[in-house]
Structure formats: structure tokens, C-alpha cells
């Protein structure tokens, strides 16, 4: 299932499949297509999301996060190998 990053649940993981906007800025911080992201926390009332990819933790505004598509159907083995 592909969802936008802003809709991911706490603690779940997924692989980024598409970054529709702001890709340059996001890439620079380590948010790139093909990376596994884990949702660390979502701030209430449309606050930012905080995600972890590898050793990097990044806070992303909610609208920017909604431009990031994530596939949450990933094989756990794939995550382990990464």
C-alpha cells in the first residue's frame, strides 16, 4: 500500500517511492527515493512529522510530508538487510 508520509502511523516503516515536490531540499537532508523511513512522531494540530532514515532524524512540515509517497508493504527481510 502506498500512502503519503503525512499519513503514516507511529512506529511504522516504509520505502519512499516518490517525492513530488521539494525534492532538492529533502534530498539534501537525506530524505530520498528508495530510502526506508520510520515514523518517529507526529505533532498534533497539523504540526510537523519527525522521521528517521538510517542514522538521520529529520522534522518535516506536514504539507511537505504529504508530497512524499511511501510504500508500507515492505518485506521485513529487506529492512533487515539494509
Amino acid at each position: 500500500m502506498t500512502v503519503s508520509l503525512s499519513c503514516m502511523e507511529y512506529g511504522t516503516q516504509g520505502v519512499i517511492t516518490e517525492i513530488k515536490k521539494y525534492s532538492r531540499e529533502l534530498n539534501a537532508l537525506g530524505i530520498r527515493v528508495g530510502k526506508i523511513v520510520k515514523m518517529v512522531t507526529k505533532q498534533p494540530i497539523k504540526g510537523p512529522v519527525v522521521v528517521m532514515t538510517g542514522e538521520v532524524v529529520v522534522a518535516i512540515g506536514i504539507e511537505m510530508a504529504s508530497c512524499i509517497q511511501v510504500n508500507t508493504d515492505i518485506d521485513p527481510a529487506y529492512i533487515r538487510d539494509k
Partner: protein, 199 residues
């Protein structure tokens, strides 16, 4: 300020321990200056290496040389104004990938460079192993493992600054594609082909 190779620029992402490294290198004589035409501060100091005195500049942290904010703009301007400077590219050993981008950009601009693989001790704590000799081989510039906090590797870094050299991005590309990949560093997962990402 622009005389031959007596200027050292510390370049790297924010939060990679650049300023601690700067303090370690320069001792206590840093001066905060303002970059002309902006309000972005940077610190400047001097270091004596093998009886030669160098001006060291702690360039504002940046993720890329395609500037996004004013601090990054200053970083770009400093690189352009000091083409003969020696770039000390500071990487956080626990988050190398992100720092490599600006490292490659710096190399592409033709600066003589050396890489400080900083925070190497926290990388060890996190069981991240970095093959620095391999990195050195691919990049074609000296790579020194350092820990600005404990002081590890700082003497070697001082020695290597004098051996900084420019590298060629085309050759880096070829070397990275070269089929000399050691078996133990090759990744075995099926999803890791080509440029589709993965650590």
C-alpha cells in the same frame, strides 16, 4: 588573504562537530567575523603546521553548494573567493552519506581537499564501520579518521592537510564503478542494484 595555499576552509554539514574541530586546530585565538554584505558570522583563526601558518575558517554549515539559506550562500561565496584554499571536508562518520554530497560538490569545484572522518568514536559505538582507506582510494584525496571531542586523529589531520590535493570527479566515478569491490564490503541484498539507494 588569497596567497598560495595558506588558507584552510572547514566545510561540512551542520552538526558534524566542525566548530569543536576548529577549536582544537586553532587553540584559543578565534575571531568572529561578519561576511561582507551579509550578516552571517563565521569564525576565523590560525594554525601552525610544520612551521607554516595557515588561516583557518569555520565555514557556516551547509548541506549543498546550491544555496538554500544565507549561511549556505556564504559557504558558496567563500569557496568561490578562495579557489586556492585547502578544503577540509568534515564528515560525520555516523552519517556519511549526507556529507558526501557536499564533499563531491567541493571536489568538483577543483579545490585541494582532505576529508576528516569525524565522530569516528561514536560511529564505533554504533557499530558502523567505515572503510576509510577505501574511501580515500575512491575519492583520490587523503581521508583521516578523527574525533574532535577526544582529540583522536587530529595530529594526522594536521599532517594530511599539507598533502591535500584536488581530485577528478570523472575518475572518482570510474573508481566507484570499478569492479575491484572487496567481497566483504559488497552488499548482497537483491534490492541494492545500481543507484536505487540503500546504505
Amino acid at each position: 588573504m588569497k596567497d598560495e595555499r595558506s588558507m584552510i576552509l572547514l566545510i561540512g554539514n551542520p552538526n558534524v562537530g566542525k566548530s569543536v574541530l576548529f577549536n582544537r586546530l586553532t587553540g584559543g585565538d578565534a575571531v568572529v567575523s561578519n561576511y561582507p554584505g551579509t550578516t552571517v558570522d563565521y569564525t576565523k583563526g590560525t594554525v601552525l603546521l610544520d612551521k607554516k601558518s595557515y588561516t583557518v575558517i569555520d565555514v557556516p554549515g551547509a548541506y549543498s553548494l546550491e544555496a538554500r539559506d544565507k549561511a549556505e550562500e556564504v559557504c558558496v561565496k567563500m569557496l568561490e573567493a578562495n579557489k586556492n584554499a585547502i578544503a577540509v571536508i568534515v564528515l560525520d562518520a555516523t552519517r556519511i552519506e549526507r556529507g558526501l554530497y557536499i564533499a563531491l560538490e567541493t571536489i568538483e569545484r577543483g579545490l585541494s581537499a582532505v576529508v576528516a572522518l569525524n565522530m569516528i568514536d561514536s560511529a564505533r559505538d554504533r557499530e558502523i564501520s567505515v572503510d576509510s582507506s577505501k574511501l580515500q582510494k575512491i575519492l583520490g584525496i587523503p581521508v583521516v579518521e578523527t574525533s574532535a571531542v577526544s582529540g583522536e586523529g587530529l595530529k594526522q589531520l594536521g599532517d594530511m592537510i599539507r598533502k591535500a590535493r584536488p581530485s577528478n570527479i570523472k575518475e572518482i566515478k570510474e573508481r566507484s564503478e570499478g569492479k575491484e569491490i572487496q567481497p566483504e564490503t559488497g552488499s548482497k541484498c537483491p534490492g541494492c542494484c545500481g543507484g536505487c539507494g540503500g546504505v
